[in-house]
Every structure is written in C-alpha cells, then in structure tokens.
Amino acid sequence: MSDLLKFDLLSASIALKNKEFSSLELTNAYFEAIEQTSALGAYLEIVKDRSMDMAKASDKNIKNGTARPLEGLPIGVKDMFCTKDVKTTASSKILENFCPTYESTVTQNLWDDGAVMLGKLSCDEFAMGSSNETAAKGNVVNPWLKNSKMSPGGSSGGSASAVAARSALAATGTDTGGSIRQPAAFCGITGFKPTYGRCSRWGIVAFSSSLDQAGPLTRTVSDAALMLNSMASYDKKDSTSANLEMPDLMNYLDKGIRGKKIGIPKEYTQDGISEDIVLFYEKSINWLKDSGAEIVPVSLPHTKYALPVYYIIAPAEASSNLARYDGVRYGKRNEAASLDEMYEITRGNGFGEEVKRRIMIGTYVLSSGYYDAYYLKAQKVRRLIKEDFDNVFEEVDYILTPSTPTTSFELGKKQDPLTMYLNDIFTVPASLAGLPGISLPVGLDKSGLPIGIQLIANSFDEPGLISTARVLERSAEFNFIADGAAK
C-alpha cells in the first residue's frame, strides 16, 4: 500500500524536511494503516480531525523553515497520559467517560516539538498487567504470527502492537516494572525506560508513584533517542522530577563502546528461560565483545527478591493512588443509598479483577499489624537491590540481560496471576533501583517470534545507553517485519 510506512521516525523527519512528502500525506498513510490493522485492537480512540490540523500546521512550519525536532511525525499515545479534551481511560471502565481538562507534561512536550497525535492506545487496566488482557475493552493482539493471536505483552501492549504493526510511527509508554521493555521485546521493537525522574509524571494516571516512568516505544534505537529528547524535561509540577539537563541523545548514536565494560549478571541465567533466548543472549555478549567492549561476569545477589519486593510496593502504592476513584469528582458512579455503599459499588463495578486484586494486596500489606512485616520489609530489601546495582556499577559501565524469560505467549493461556507476574522477572530489578533500561530486538525464536535483549545503565546515563544499544542493534541486524503489519 503505502511506501511512506517504510520510513522510521528519524528518516521520516529528514524526508519531511527535504519535502519528499508532506506531514498530511504521512498522517493519512497512518490512518489507512490504522484501518488496515484495526483487528489488532491497539487503538481505543483516534482523533483524525485534530491530527489533520496538527499535520497541516506542521507542513506550514516546514515550508517556513521553522520545523521543530518532531515536526509532522504522527505518533500514538498510551491511554495512561492525560490528553486535553481527548478521552483518557487508562483502559478502565471506571474512567470510561473521563475527558481531561489538562494535558500531561510529556505529551505537551511532544506537541510543543511538532509531533502529530494519531490517537490513544490500549494498555492493561491502570497499567497493571503483562499481556494487555486486563484492558476493559479487551486484549490487544500482537502483529507477529497474527493468526496465532499472541499477546503483545503489557502493560504498554497497544503502543508496542501499533509500532510493530506500523499503525504509529512511534508511541509513548509507561513502565512501572517492565511495561515498556517487555511489550517492546514481545513485539520486536525498541522500548526505552529512562531513569526515574527524567520524564515528568504530571498528568500520567498514577499507578505506583515511586516506580512509574514514561518512555518511548519505537522502531529503532535512534528513534528512541529522538523521541526521548522531547519527552524528558525537568518539571516543577512533579516533585520527583530530576533537575538535570539531559544531553542531546542524537549526539551519542555513533560513539561506540570501545573500552567499555559490560557486566553479565550470573543471576539472570536461570532455569525456565527459553533456549532460543539463551542463544541470542550469548550472541549479544559476543557482538559487544567483537565491538571492543570488555565482558565482565558480575553478581546482583538480591535479584530473586525483586519480584516479591515489587508485588508488595507496587500494590501498596496502587491501593493508595486508586483511592481517588470514588465516584464523586470524576469517573463512573453507581448510585446507592449511602456514601459508603456508593463507594463500594462504584469501585466494585468500575475496576477489573486484576486491579481489585492489587488494591486488596496493597491494602492488606499496609493494614495495621502487617505494615512492618510486608511494606517496610519490602522497602528494606529494595535498598539491598539498589545497592547490588551500585556495587556492580563501580566495576562496569552497562549490564546486559535478556528482556524476558520467554517470547510472547498465546492470549488467554496464562490464567494464574503469579505465573503472569514472572514475565517481568528481568525488568523489575532496574525499575526498583530507578535505573534506565532499554530493550531491543536481536533475533527470532524457532517459531518466528521476536527476542528482546535489555541493557541497563547507571542513573542518568541515557547517552551511554544509547551508544551501547546502537552497537548491539547494528550487530543484530534485526530487519524483520511482523506478518500482521500494515502494508
């Protein structure tokens, strides 16, 4: 169908500036792609009129020579970001009619830099899930092996599916325990969770505030750099925002890794990890070695405790954050005779099963008599996990791990919550330590599903992480396109 879909974010940006095509033409091509791939269910809402207006304004800027960094590039937005006058539901029934009167800082940054909004992308409800199956309006499908109905991962499943299916040039995501990196790995694209504090959380629907962080899902590492350049900013409206200038990541694409030390943690090669992933993990180690890096075996001894810590801290913070959905100020209300009954029925009907489970866990671990035993204990072990990383970064510059223990699985196959939680075993530790991590595709497994590898850096070393990821990307030469992608 459209040759325009072949351009990635960076090459499209150059082509737009060279006037090879207009933003309006590019945006139209994406609306055709959205239609063509609608069976994947990635979009919850499209905003075609607004997109067209934004594209026309971009074309004017390009013509006048006043193009901004993302001028005219059509992107999708995870439904966790509040978008002014555009419905924002967090994939939850309780917010099904919520229409924010303000814009999140991250999306405002993107529009200020010229990006064109295509629409809102599905995710797990309140970003709680690893398969996109907890979304109130139903799961999203992975465009890989499209006839097998594979999971796109989660919680940024709509974002990952749309970028892989070429129905968005790039997309925003949020990552609390792996929600950018795991779906990126499942869908064969790049997902970048920056350091906690790099992107403002203002206007992002809160799940677990000490962990939530926004980042891009893109086709390439360069695209991730371009997009994160715009998303990141210091914001006085978020008290955890880092008041630290991020260098222009585009200057770090070709710095190489000669002389850098890459740590290989022994705790990340455990039973239950698929053979094909082990194979590509070993290949990745060799690629980095061949590119001039020194490979150093390291140990992060508290790794196995990361998931238990996460499944105390994240639900605890969620139970507190989600107390705001009370049927009074916004969101859906079910009427009842008394105020308490109104709260209970509204929340009982408005939240899905996984969200209710996590609120219950969170309330339990914070309740009188259990706070010290669970919540305080988890916060202490969280410190030990962070200290493991601090120690290792005394010795090495980056850490290489698989992104996930397995490739994508069929939708509907994992019913037990605990089994589902194990998907995030390799992404949760860096989240707990607040570190930046990037997942990029390096190959396909025997059944033809993408394999993701993760690189982790020390806090605020996004530039070096981009340089390293680029080296790996060039060695892996992952040029496959999903069979379910728009053509």
């Binding site: 105020l339 308490d340 929340r347 489970r357 309330t363």
Partner: protein, 100 residues
Amino acid sequence: MSNKESIVDIPTVNKIARLSRLNIPEASKQNLTNDLNNILGFVAQLDEVNTSDVKPLASVTGHKLPLRSDKVTDGNIEDLVLKNAPESSSGFFVVPKVIE
C-alpha cells in the same frame, strides 16, 4: 515477619474489601482468597533476607523533596473542576446524604 502465620480467609477478605471500599460479590470471594494467599505466600520469601541493619528505601531520586512558596498559582476554574463530576449542583460535588 512473625505476623505472617495468619493466612487470609474469607473474613479477612471481607475486612480488606471493606477497608478498600470494594464491593466483592460472594461468588468471587473464594477465588480471591486463594489468589491473595498465593501472592502473599510468594512474597513471604523475603523472610530469608536479613535486613536488621538496613534502612527502608522509599525514593530513588537522590534529591530532597523541593519546596515552593505557598502562593496561589491558579484558580477560578470551577467549571473545569466540575466538568467530569458524575453529579454537581450550584458549584458543588453531590454525594448521597451523609447526615440525618
């Protein structure tokens, strides 16, 4: 974690649901109880870790919470504040009657 011998049962689920202001249908209570026990059983492995000299970590930002001067920075947006309310009247949110 000496408190953990108490395994979640249906009365506990009722109590937690009440604290969470969540209406849980009778039919789902047994499954929910099982799920909670599985998850709490899983996180109990933290008992193995000696944390006697470890301070809890609540924030990874590495900076102190910034303060701002106590000034009004916006306001006069009553319409916007009430725009998404399920029910409002005369500039107020409306809730079921709470006093007789």
